[in-house]
């Protein structure tokens, strides 16, 4: 009964998913562009290893990531204990925990997009900007970023889609609390467990539709990238 399903439909998991994925994508974008530039343009010692560590969430089981966050930020950990002691704050069973997990899985996609986009920018154009008395920062903002942005944006859109789909690590850290930490992927999981196939199907279709739209958009930007 679709009418019945609509009347009792709860949009909270969808809005929370957008909020978590949105915040995580902004964080991943800032971190990813900075690190992407470092990896593409500098000869930092241990760069290869650092890059591998940043890319790790792409291939690690989400349970490892979730367990890692629990161990590093749980109440019994040094950091988690300190935050709780001084600020009465914890990321456990808090949607901020889901943001941390989603940021970590989204970061590799922004990072990869940004570092390859930076690598493709013609260094002569930057050098030309420097001869026109532009500072290093100014030439980065006025020349490098505008040339690299389609690649960065494509990576960012992928990162948003990935962050929307985060499940395992978020479930372990933030739990599935309706109205507080229950994202769309968790609501689907709960619905399947409870035998609410109609609700699960509806949420799955919405999430899939949004993801397809994002992937199409991301491909558009990738094709616009200067080669």
């Amino acid at each position: 009964m679709p009418a019945d399903l609509w009347s009792q439909f709860d949009a909270a998991p969808l809005t929370l998913t957008l909020r978590v994925a949105g915040v995580a994508t902004v964080l991943a974008l800032l971190l990813g562009v900075a690190l992407g530039w470092v990896f593409a343009r500098t000869k930092l010692p241990g760069r290869g290893l650092l890059e591998a560590v940043c890319m790790l969430p792409l291939v690690l089981p989400p349970t490892v990531l979730g367990y890692g966050i629990l161990v590093l930020m749980g109440r019994r950990s040094a950091l988690g204990g300190w935050l709780r002691e001084h600020f009465d704050y914890t990321v456990i069973f808090n949607w901020h925990g889901a943001v941390i997990a989603s940021t970590l899985v989204a970061l590799p996609l922004v990072l990869k997009g940004a570092s390859s986009a930076f690598a493709q920018v013609d260094r002569n154009l930057e050098a030309a900007a420097r001869t026109l008395r532009q500072s290093r920062w100014s030439s980065f903002v006025r020349v490098t970023l505008p040339l690299a942005w389609p690649g960065i944006l494509a990576g960012t859109l992928l990162a948003f889609a990935r962050a929307m789909g985060e499940f395992g690590a978020s479930l372990m850290v933030a739990g599935s609390i309706p109205g507080q930490t229950q994202t769309a992927s968790m609501a689907i999981y709960d619905a399947v467990q409870a035998g609410r196939d109609d609700l699960a199907l509806m949420l799955a279709l919405i999430v899939s539709a949004v993801s397809v739209a994002i992937l199409v958009l991301s491909n558009r930007f990738l094709q616009r990238q200067p080669s």
Partner: protein, 243 residues
């Protein structure tokens, strides 16, 4: 050569000919892992594999056609649903154990009784998901009877099964949780039993042969074995009561 290949290809089927799949409530994990080999010892050639999860989840798997032979639930309600959907052979159904609902806290916790859960310094309380986890439903009944289920809602963290509730408490991520006494006993030292909870339906464990079982004979034998002295002794050792 050809015959050998045929034999090798058929080997997995021969080996699984006497394999019994038992889906059992998460709280039964440790006791059943000990009962399994004892049953195998009495039936040469038979192997038992277990699938542990929340009872509601197990029933969903059976409803979706999972190849399960025996279903052991932590409450009557889930088994009733299985009977209504004709997923289990009702003539094989019987109760084989009972349990108690308890309130647990991390060691040194401030919560001593159910009424303490309303205190401001109790931020999070772990309970099983009401829709799929029996211990969550028992908890809901008890707290509704105490008329504190609704006011406590903002503090509740819903877990996938009773062992996850136990883990949340043992890690100190929540101030309290509701589990069975048998689970609390297994985590002695990490959790403390604050009190025995009343005001809910009796916790009894029904078992039945799954209607679509391809090992119905062996499955019936396993159900009978659970009622026998050897299995009952193991269940008692883990703290389960008589049905």
């Amino acid at each position: 050569m050809k015959r050998l290949l045929l034999l090798v290809a058929a080997l997995p089927f021969i080996a699984s000919a006497q394999q019994l799949t038992v889906s059992a409530a998460a709280s039964l994990t440790d006791a059943f892992k000990e009962i399994g080999p004892r049953f195998e010892a009495t039936r040469p050639g038979a192997t038992v594999r277990f699938n542990f999860a929340a009872s509601g989840v197990l029933l969903q798997q059976i409803a979706q056609g999972a190849p399960v032979d025996v279903f052991a639930s932590a409450d009557q309600e889930t088994m009733n649903r299985g009977a209504q959907q004709k997923l289990v052979a009702t003539d094989t159904r019987r109760d084989f154990a009972s349990n108690t609902l308890v309130l647990v806290t991390p060691p040194g916790g401030a919560v001593k009784a159910v009424r303490d859960l309303a205190m401001a310094n109790v931020k999070r309380i772990a309970v099983g998901k009401v829709a799929s986890v029996p211990v969550g439903r028992y908890t809901q009944q008890a707290l509704e009877n105490a008329q504190i289920w609704a006011p406590l809602q903002p503090k509740l963290v819903f877990a996938d099964n009773v062992r996850q509730v136990l883990d949340y408490v043992a890690r100190g991520e929540v101030e309290a949780g509701f589990v069975y006494r048998t689970d609390a006993e297994l985590a002695k030292g990490k959790v403390v039993i604050a009190m025995t909870v009343s005001g809910h339906a009796p916790v009894t464990y029904p078992v039945a042969v799954v209607a679509d079982s391809r090992q119905a004979g062996l499955a019936r034998e396993f159900v009978a074995f659970l009622g026998g002295a050897e299995a009952q002794g193991i269940l008692a050792k883990y703290g389960f009561g008589k049905p």
